[in-house]
């Protein structure tokens, strides 16, 4: 990764602004203009206080690498940008990634061990991760009793934060000290959002639901199904197909020949757990009905390796819809993609952002911003900084400018970002390779 | 244990083993045909015949390793070995409880209860099936009697045969190669020891005493067969002749009333053979065990046997005292004719 240090210095994207400006917090997203960033970057002095560490806990090896690595690179980008802009609050930031994949899949026991490693290292002021809600369940209690802040880019399982779903079981030691925040909208928002969209906007009345039997996939699909039925839609068939499934034909054929065929599909899961294969085989079986899913399937253009459009094929991915828990027309999104591609162009495997690169960048941004504020508030020693970061980030009053838009975190640590954006595939985009196109956004402000 | 069958021959007191019309077919080939055999208490009976005469097959039937196609073997008046009858019925029985559960569950409307109903039904069925199989594995007495009432007849297993009071050796030595001589005999004494799980976990005094005594007796047995002081040697490191003797000692571990010896002198030099023959003689006199001896080499058995059966091509061609057999032209023909051994 340090291979990229050099190029990092070269490419100071506008996001460095969001990452480390003091005024950015209040400014409107659109004000994040190149000029501003340049001045901001220039105005910051070189780090004087030495090094401070930001931990990253993700599954980075084996099958899980396809999930973890792009996510890691999202955070990497933010940190490199911050360092390029002269560090944060006088510190230079060091990213410390730990891999908790064992035999190629995330492992809770290893996740716990890594969290303990972070907690024991006084220089760690915060942790980005984890990727899987199951791992979060193991890590939150640890962070909670140690007062170490953790920001997950990908966890959407509602039970992790919301007391009404039993989240207090994870904060036994300090029930009122939030130590876990996340930038993704929870399943109980994202799932129903797509249900409404499918039923009202796309007019799908008969649905085939398939999930990947993971915490995320099944969770979001359950919430989708619940809302969809409330709206009056009929679920023709609900099937599970675990992460290792390669061949969905036995499900598809059934849907194709059944007496009342579905006029839409909802896939609860991510591309790495079969979303792309499912869509590909769906089209090959001659089913051109709309294919809809959560943010796990909106992962880059057709030329991005491992993206839904790439796997399913450009033509096949027509008529697919995905939700993203962010303001869709936020310019930083496009800028982020550009910055990422530029920053990691040397990387053979992950030169384009994955589904959770952006959120990871947002998490890192939040961490760095909080660090800056904590230092500004006078936190000198490591312990004070760690607590300061936690306190600032989890304070609902704090505002952050991220690639996902302006956000802050409520009393449970969930993002207050009220928008769900809907994306649709555009096969003509990017010179024919196809890409996701922002369609519209709905506010789910409570 | 083999179940009591009505036609069990009334064994006279002094007959310890009684084989009747024992027959074994492998596909078309008849390995053993209609062999009758009586071993008197304390007698030494030998079966001889050229290689491939079916001696060992008959022997394995008696030892409970293969089931006979027909005929019975009674030990001390109890029919141990007989042709298994309707065993297929037993494996059919295994599914009956499961089926019953399934039907009941479905009748009670589990099918209507959707997924949960099916799940519950499946679990119940699985439990029923497993429970049945557990019983079928542990084979409590009521289970076997129930089976025999259904006419299911299962022949005795080797370990049943041993606990009934027989001990055996193998033609090609089957010692526990990586265990010491002493341990081999201690395994042989398995049924003599009665320490239980509690003793094992607690390493109780009782177990220690028992083990010490067992070790002592094992050493005696080693001395008896002339392996004094070889206790801690791995069986596989023993000389060939000693391995044969060790196996014999192991067979004596369970205090058998009848010893089944399968070519105990095979591969031995004349000297060792002589020793072994003498030893067998001594076993009868000292321990009072009866012996069933299998040999393809006439000279070995002539000395010690009271009674000899001669087999060829699976059939009994002659029997009687050593002298009678030696003079029987059929026997001479069989041996010279086949030119075996």
């Amino acid at each position: 990764m340090k291979l990229h240090k050099v190029s990092a210095l070269a490419t100071v994207s506008i996001l460095a602004f969001a990452a480390c400006s003091s005024t950015g917090a209040t400014s409107a997203p659109t004000s994040a203009a190149p000029g501003a960033s340049a001045s901001a970057a220039a105005s910051v002095a070189a780090p004087t206080k030495g090094e401070i560490k930001l931990g990253v806990s993700l599954p980075l090896s084996g099958q899980a690498a396809a999930d973890g690595q792009p996510t890691l690179k999202g955070a990497q980008l933010a940190v490199d940008q911050a360092n390029a802009a002269g560090g944060v609050g006088g510190y230079s930031i060091k990213l410390v990634p730990l891999d908790h994949a064992v035999n190629g899949k995330y492992n809770e026991q290893q996740g716990a061990a890594d969290m303990n490693t972070f907690i024991a290292d006084p220089k760690i002021f915060g942790v980005v991760g984890p990727y899987n809600s199951a791992v979060a369940k193991v890590q939150i209690p640890l962070g909670n009793s140690a007062g170490l802040l953790q920001c997950s880019p990908a966890n959407t399982n509602e039970t992790l934060t919301k007391p009404e779903f039993g989240a207090l079981a994870f904060r036994k030691t300090n029930p009122d000290k939030i130590n876990y925040i996340r930038v993704a909208a929870t399943d109980d928002i994202q799932g129903p959002a797509m249900a409404v969209y499918d039923y009202d906007k796309l007019g799908i009345k008969k649905m085939l639901i398939v999930d990947d039997v993971t915490t995320f996939g099944k969770g979001v699909a359950d919430n989708f199904e619940k809302k969809y039925k409330e709206l009056g839609g009929t679920v023709v068939l609900r099937q599970g197909a675990d992460k290792d499934t390669k061949d969905f034909n036995s499900i598809i054929n059934n849907a194709a020949v059944t007496a009342n065929p579905p006029d839409g599909v909802y896939y609860g899961g991510v591309v790495t757990s079969g979303g792309g294969l499912f869509l590909k085989q769906l089209r090959q079986a001659g089913l051109t009905i709309p294919f809809t899913g959560p943010d796990g399937i909106v992962n880059g253009a057709g030329d991005a390796k491992g993206s839904l459009i790439n796997i399913a094929g450009t033509a096949a991915s027509a008529n697919s819809y995905g939700t993203v828990a962010a303001i869709g027309d936020f310019p930083a999104k496009k800028d982020f993609d550009a910055a990422y591609t530029e920053h990691f162009k040397a990387d053979a495997e992950y030169k384009t952002p994955g589904a959770y690169s952006g959120p990871a960048h947002a998490c890192a941004t939040v961490m760095l911003k909080s660090l800056e504020e904590a230092v500004k508030a006078g936190a000198a020693d490591d312990a004070a900084i760690r607590e300061g970061v936690r306190a600032y980030a989890t304070n609902p009053a704090s505002k952050f400018v991220t690639v996902l838009g302006d956000t802050s975190f409520d009393k449970n640590g969930d993002t207050t970002q009220p928008f769900i954006s809907f994306y649709v595939t555009d096969v003509a985009a990017k010179g024919g390779v196809g890409d996701w196109k922002f369609k519209e956004q709905l506010s789910f402000a409570k | 244990m083999g179940s009591e069958s009505p036609d069990a021959p009334a064994a006279s007191a002094e007959t310890i083993l009684q084989a009747r019309q024992v027959t074994k077919r492998f596909g078309g080939l008849v390995a053993v045909r209609d062999i009758n055999l009586d071993i008197p208490q304390g007698g030494i009976v030998s079966i001889i015949g050229p290689n491939g005469a079916g001696k060992t097959t008959f022997f394995n039937v008696v030892a409970g390793i293969i089931d006979p196609t027909a005929g019975t073997v009674a030990f001390k008046g109890t029919t141990l070995i007989s042709r298994p009858r309707r065993v297929w019925l037993e494996s059919v029985l295994w599914v009956v409880p499961a089926l019953v559960v399934a039907i009941v569950a479905l009748v009670l409307g589990a099918g209507g209860a959707g997924d949960d109903g099916l799940v519950v039904t499946t679990i119940l069925v699985a439990v029923a099936l497993v429970a049945t199989l557990v019983v079928a594995t542990i084979r409590p007495a009521w289970y076997t009697t129930f089976l025999s009432r259904l006419g299911v007849m299962r022949s005795a297993r080797p370990n049943d045969v041993v606990s009934a009071g027989m001990g055996r050796t193998f033609q090609n030595i089957r010692l526990f190669q990586n265990m010491t001589a002493l341990e081999n005999i201690l395994v042989g004494m398995h049924l003599q020891l009665e320490s239980n799980m509690v003793d094992h976990f607690a390493a109780s005094r009782r177990q220690q005493r028992e083990e010490a005594a067992a070790a002592e007796r094992a050493r005696e047995l080693l001395r008896l067969v002339g392996l004094r002081g070889r206790d801690d040697e791995l069986a596989k490191n023993l000389p060939y002749g000693d391995q044969r003797r060790l196996e014999l000692a192991r067979a004596l571990g369970n205090r058998p009333a009848l010893l089944l010896l399968d070519e105990p002198t095979a591969g031995m030099n004349p000297n060792e053979t002589a020793q072994m023959t003498a030893l067998i003689g001594r076993l009868r006199t000292d321990l009072g065990v009866s012996v069933l001896l299998i040999e393809h080499d006439m000279r070995v058995v002539m000395g010690i046997s009271d009674h000899i059966l001669v087999m060829d091509h699976g059939e009994l061609i002659s029997e009687g005292t050593p002298d009678e057999v030696r003079r029987d032209p059929k026997v001479i023909e069989a041996y010279l004719g086949t030119g075996a051994s």
Partner: protein, 343 residues
């Protein structure tokens, strides 16, 4: 247990008579096939055959290796995976094929080349693995080669992951996946027909090879008794190497087929496939070629049936449940000759 009744003559019982005739399994298959056709309907039926064909091809390698050196070759699934990637390499980097072929000639040509090269390469890979990971341990404790097999499977996966990356990769579907033909009013994809035919041809070929040729006889004799075979002048090492060659080559063929069928492969597809293939091999009676082939198709049918009736997640469990129950009642698999519980 049930087996100990084998060989009872003049039994009035039809069951026993049937079992002795040895026709039982075949009747069972015939019945099953017919039932399945009507349960699943033509479309799913073809689908099941296709999936089953791939499993069967992998299972054959498993069962051959097991039959000859009694090794559960856990690396076999990953050999299959490597096969898929080699075929990808051949198609894209050598033949420069992307997407589907346009003419029949092209299809025939490219597939011939791909199969030839892939099967050769993977065959060699199998031999190499045997030479360096298994042969040195032939006289070691039984489990030692099992562990090296697991190690090899790790190595293969990681190498492919380093070369091609962890995310799934598209393979050119030379036979257009949407090309279908009507057979008796049933629309069947050409690709399905191709896969099923390929598999059957390879199986028959293998069957003939093992039963007719000299090498085949050497294999069978080595499998039944290595020492005796050696005394008869059979070169054991060579025979075992050839077994690995053929078994792996079949896995390679399966790999090609996998790529053609799903048009997308990734480095982790080996283990699951291997697991199912192993199950198939045991279901049919491990060491028995017919059995392995049958087992493969059988698992295909179980999976599709589960998927068809909305219990796709239970497919794996169902497969194993059936396996366990089968073994309880037929301790040596469906085709393995029953030695009863004492053997």
């Amino acid at each position: 247990m049930a087996g100990s009744a084998v060989g009872v003559t003049a039994s009035p019982n039809p069951l026993v008579a049937l079992r002795r005739s040895g026709a039982g399994p075949y009747l069972f298959i015939a019945a099953l096939t017919v039932v399945m056709y009507f349960v699943l309907g033509p479309r799913q039926f073809i689908n099941a055959l296709t999936i089953g064909a791939i499993y069967a091809l992998v299972a054959l390698g498993y069962t051959m290796v097991y039959g000859i050196i009694e090794l559960i070759n856990f690396a076999h699934g990953d050999v299959f995976m490597v096969g898929a990637f080699v075929s990808l390499f051949v198609l894209t980097n050598i033949l420069g094929q992307t997407g589907s072929a346009t003419s029949l000639e092209q299809i025939v040509f490219e597939l011939t080349v791909t199969f030839a090269l892939t099967m050769a390469a993977i065959g060699v890979l199998g031999v190499v693995i045997e030479r360096f990971a298994y042969r040195p341990l032939r006289n070691a404790p039984r489990l030692a080669p099992l562990i090296t097999a697991i190690g090899v499977s790790f190595i293969l996966q990681n190498i492919i992951q380093i070369i091609y990356g962890p995310s799934p990769i598209n393979t050119p579907q030379v036979i257009p996946p949407t090309a279908r033909v009507d057979i008796g009013g049933i629309s069947v994809g050409w690709i399905n027909i191709f896969i099923i035919v390929t598999a059957v041809v390879l199986m028959i070929g293998l069957q003939l090879f093992v039963s007719r040729t000299k090498v085949g006889r050497a294999m069978r004799s080595t499998a039944s008794d290595r020492e005796a075979a050696a005394l008869m002048g059979v070169d054991i090492n060579r025979t075992i190497a050839i077994t690995f060659l053929i078994g792996s080559a079949l896995a390679g063929a399966a790999g090609v087929v996998q790529g053609l069928y799903l048009g997308n492969i990734d480095f982790s597809l080996g283990f699951q496939a291997g697991l199912k293939a192993f199950t198939a091999a045991v279901l049919g009676g491990i060491g028995n070629l017919t059995g392995a082939a049958f087992g493969g198709f059988f698992i295909g049918f179980v999976e599709v049936t589960c998927g068809n009736f909305g219990y796709f997640v239970w497919a794996q469990a169902a497969v194993f449940m059936i396996l366990i129950i089968t073994l309880v009642f037929r301790p040596a698999g469906l085709f393995g000759h029953q030695l009863g519980e004492r053997a």
